[in-house]
Symmetry: C2
Subunit: 160 residues, 2 copies
DNA sequence: TATGTCAAGTCTCAAATGGAACTAATTTCA
DNA sequence: TGAAATTAGTTCCATTTGAGACTTGACATA
């Protein structure tokens, strides 16, 4: 899939970095990167959709409507990135923006029909990969993972 | 810390995307991004060390010596990135490369004393943040997290 | 020992990224 | 009220990133 990676199809177990200085954080980052990397490469190639564009579609599809600053918080991504993604999606007719009547600085963003359609097409690949991946875990593991990651998500500390 | 982010110091709980199409994967990515983002910004500012450079120092410090292709597998990062990181670290005198006698294409990489010293300085911030972060969990949670993330790390699927 | 294939690593180039400065709207509070 | 501070979002610019082509070395098969 990715010609920039060495040819090994699976990670060698002895090249997993257990017991490192930052504990599970390393594994969390490794899993996150390794999981999404091929998907975004695929979206880019097949649909000319960037990571930022997909992420925005994804959260809009779930929340219905959002403002850019809410997207920043939801994704943890910088606002200039979000701003560019929004502009691009708008120019492609995949989302629409309207002024917030209460605050002229803010724009309320929603997907268009086309955008919703594209999202439905894209998400199939993502969920299939996620299901494959999580199928390695039994039900208890999945519940533990859900609970723990949610707990961590809700209280991400700023830098100390 | 990051002027590109909206000013909220903590994530709003209602802006956490629970029950989404890809389950815990979303949280894993969110946590990974939100966790490392401020650290690498800090390293860049204070030490002029990029993410790639740190990651290479980190795994070298743990494994002693490695070749570039092993780093790719361990990190899930593209080989051209690793190659550039290695070149930069070498030019700064933080790592050293020597030919693999068994295969002239390969280079065996190790940290220099300076590199090891810098790593020791950098890792303090990282582990402090990791400890703060994981202190949100009780011992059972931590063990579950370790176990599950390790299981997932060891069997990352290629794209389907 | 030729020859085609594969592997490790580098290079090029276009695109994505993030920090910082900026604009414009809103809020704070003297 | 009005100046100062804050916030939402954009733009600029330098750096980082990744895909793909490329180079060189190893290896398999004949």
């Amino acid at each position: 899939m990715n010609k920039n990676q060495p040819a090994q199809q699976f990670t060698h177990s002895d090249l997993i970095l257990e017991n490192n200085a930052i504990g599970s954080i390393w594994q969390i980052c490794f899993v996150a990167n390794s999981f999404v990397f091929p998907i975004y490469a695929f979206y880019d190639k097949q649909y000319k959709i960037s990571r930022m564009e997909f992420v925005i579609l994804f959260i809009l599809a779930h929340k219905g409507k959002l403002m850019a600053w809410e997207m920043c918080i939801m994704t943890g991504l910088p606002k200039n990135n979000i701003s560019r993604g929004v502009k691009k999606l708008e120019s492609k007719g995949l989302i629409k923006r309207s002024q917030d009547p209460k605050d002229a600085r803010r724009a309320i963003l929603v997907t268009t029909k086309t955008g919703e359609g594209l999202y439905q097409e894209l998400i199939v690949h993502y969920t299939r990969r996620a299901d494959d991946f999580l199928s390695l875990l039994d039900e208890d593991d999945k519940n533990d993972l859900d609970r723990i990651m949610l707990k961590l998500s809700k209280s991400m500390p700023t830098i100390s």
